[in-house]
């Protein structure tokens, strides 16, 4: 109940945005079932990244490397695909992502380097590694790999996009983890009062490392979906994805100082960002203006949130 009350302003924002675009998108093309289903498909990658980002920001950290990890995991997976099949590709892609998460997490937990800098560095390393493959050219996914291609493009019963289902699955798991397990409690404690968490004997290093591994794993998952959607692995894909994910997280009410935030909030944040992107596009707003409007909406949302907490 309490959570619902906190999320109410965001839900109202969604209703207002939908109403706005229903009115302003020509021909009533916005508020149709097929358009909204497309929307769920389009927000799924950003939402999956945002779930992981929520965990990182909640403990007072950040992960700037997710966008580059999307590209690298996709590239590795597609490179492996002809040799090891879709399962091998998934393992290779996710494994690569997890390795980056492990490096991020270990550095954050064991050294005093700030996560911003650590993940800025690993972002460059991941991006560079992705570009080494095939000399930076895209790797096409063979048409015979139907399972892999279904990951990003199929629709359940011909209606519900598979990426949206994966996104909902990731939401359920991360929400369960954050709100219904001891692990989740520990993240709130670490973000809210790090010393306190230490004093009650929470293993900070292990928790912190796990958060970054999870964040990277979700980025790896997003990378598989993304390369499937594109029918090829693009080493230059995923640029700026980390910023879009951060935007969803903060619009969803997670505090940058740590210790405050919820997974449902992030989901709603990702939906709001997605509606804005799609709606502005369909309303025919020039792309330059789209950036400006999106920036102002983020600023306004966070300002309202900060004011409400005071």
């Amino acid at each position: 109940m309490k959570t619902l009350r906190q999320l109410l302003p965001l839900l109202i924002a969604i209703v207002l945005l939908v109403a706005f675009f229903a009115f302003f998108v020509p021909g009533g093309r916005f508020l149709t079932v097929s358009n909204l289903l497309d929307l769920t498909q389009q927000i799924s990658i950003n939402a999956i990244l945002a779930f992981g980002m929520t965990l990182a920001i909640l403990i007072g950290g950040i992960d700037l490397s997710v966008g580059a990890v999307v590209a690298l995991a996709g590239t590795v997976a597609v490179a492996v695909l002809p040799h090891a099949g879709w399962a091998g590709a998934a393992v290779a892609g996710m494994g690569t992502a997890a390795a980056f998460g492990l490096v991020n997490g270990t550095c954050a937990a064991k050294t005093r380097m700030p996560p911003f800098i650590i993940t800025l560095a690993t972002m460059l390393v991941a991006r560079g590694t992705a570009l080494r493959f095939n000399e930076g050219r895209p790797l096409p996914v063979p048409d015979s790999e139907t399972v892999f291609l279904n990951l990003g493009n199929a629709r359940l019963f011909g209606v519900v996009p598979v990426p949206a289902l994966i996104m909902l699955g990731a939401f359920a798991l991360t929400a369960l983890l954050l709100h219904r397990t001891a692990f989740g409690q520990h993240l709130y404690a670490i973000g809210g009062n790090r010393e306190a968490a230490r004093y009650v004997g929470i293993p900070l290093a292990r928790r912190e490392t796990t958060v970054y591994v999870l964040c990277s794993l979700l980025a790896g998952l997003a990378g598989l979906i993304h390369s499937s959607q594109l029918y090829s692995a693009e080493p230059a894909a995923g640029q700026g994805f980390e910023l879009n994910a951060i935007a969803a997280v903060v619009v969803g009410g997670t505090s940058f100082t740590g210790g405050i935030g919820t997974m449902p909030g992030t989901l709603i944040g990702a939906v709001i960002i997605g509606i804005l992107d799609k709606g502005l596009n369909q309303a025919g707003v020039h792309f330059s203006l789209q950036y400006i409007i999106k920036g102002l909406v983020i600023l306004g949302a966070v300002w309202l949130d900060v004011r409400r907490r005071k």
Binding site: Q185, A189, N193
Partner: protein
Amino acid sequence: MLLRLNAVTKRFGGIVALDRVDFELRAGEIHALLGENGAGKSTLIKILGGIHRPDAGEILHNDQRIEIHDVAAADRLGIRLIHQELSLAPNLSVAENVFLGREPQRCGLLDRRRMFREAEQLRDELGLPEIGDVRMRVSELSVARQQLVEIARALSVKARVLVLDEPTASLSEAETERLFVILRQLRAQGVGIIYISHRLEEIQRLADRITVLRDGHSVGTQTAAELSQTELIRWMVGRELREHYPRPPWMPGAVALTVRHLRNAQVNDVSFELRYGEVLGFAGLVGAGRTELAQTLFGILPADGEILVDGRAVTIRQPSDALDAGIVLVPEDRKRKGLVMTDSLGFNLALPWTRAGHVNPSRRAEIVNRAVRDFSIKATGPEQPVVSLSGGNQQKVVVAKWMERQPKILILDEPTRGVDVGAREEMFGIIRRAVEQGMAVLLISSDLPEVMNLSHRLALYRDGRIVHETPSQAITAEEVMAELTRN
């Protein structure tokens, strides 16, 4: 013997926090640990809690030599700490905090229902109804209630050794009494209790034995009944109280500062006058709101009401307004509010003069040299990082950086907190000199003998207001205490 420390030593960098300290705790006793700030009490209990490791010496538990590697190890030994700084997670509920680190689970998921039920049970068993709804988020509770949550958490596990660091600092009298009842019950059950407090009267009522630490050494251990309060104070400070506080000469001049009906969320209709050449002391308990008053006068917190300097009304909306009016503040938390810890001595001393972005090198050298000489700041040179100065010298830097401005009104908020005895004396000297130079001094201190003996007039402060104002020599410490702790 439940616990025994033999010749335990702990160093932090070059500073010896504990120097071959012996300490013992029996099962079923309340053992008070006393000492001034920085005497080593916190270090000692953090060693017991597995937060610090000793550099030398040994710890015996039931006459067995043990190592307390980490918090979990302390937990296994049944050692529970209640820290002075609140160590709760603000965004979790009371129950979630009580069970933090050992949450009840079912099939790998949190069992919130059981958590809430057991937290309610615990609250009722301990007789602490003031804790209230265990589903409330901790950040929404008052500090006193948070403190009770902390106590409940420590008692939620069967403790064999319970360590309390100033648990009553923010508790009401009724809550304090309730805590004492609980502690006596635990003592009867054979729990060994280490109790740290600055309230001597409280300790003499509660404790069986008393150990006093001073500058990292153990001064001695004595049965509480055999140790008078005077003797106790002598153990703590190492000399008679009387010679410890030279009151500055009283040379009252014109009225420097007039405050009329000052009020905001923290300041509750405060009016007073302060003359040149006098020290007005603000006595109160921690949390009475004196720091907020100082911040209001210095323009950090906005307020309604009138402030007059030299009889002329001034508008203070930000610290630069206060500086222009001749008011300076030496804030309570010097590391966070008084100094740029990442920079040098010279940088910090010259900071008030770099408002325009630049101070010329020869002017800066002149400021720094004068400050170092006038305040006998012990440093290798102007380039020494302030972080490597001792607490006392850091505090001198905070005061000295203002003096070049020749302020009219000097506000000192807890100027002797966390500095050693020698630096404390020097701080007294600084106050004396300020008065002799004709400044008006507003002194806030939670150290009752200090504020009573250094000030000429005393304002007793409680709940954001002045409840009584008197010449310092016309009131006894007992009367002051009674007034401050009245509900």
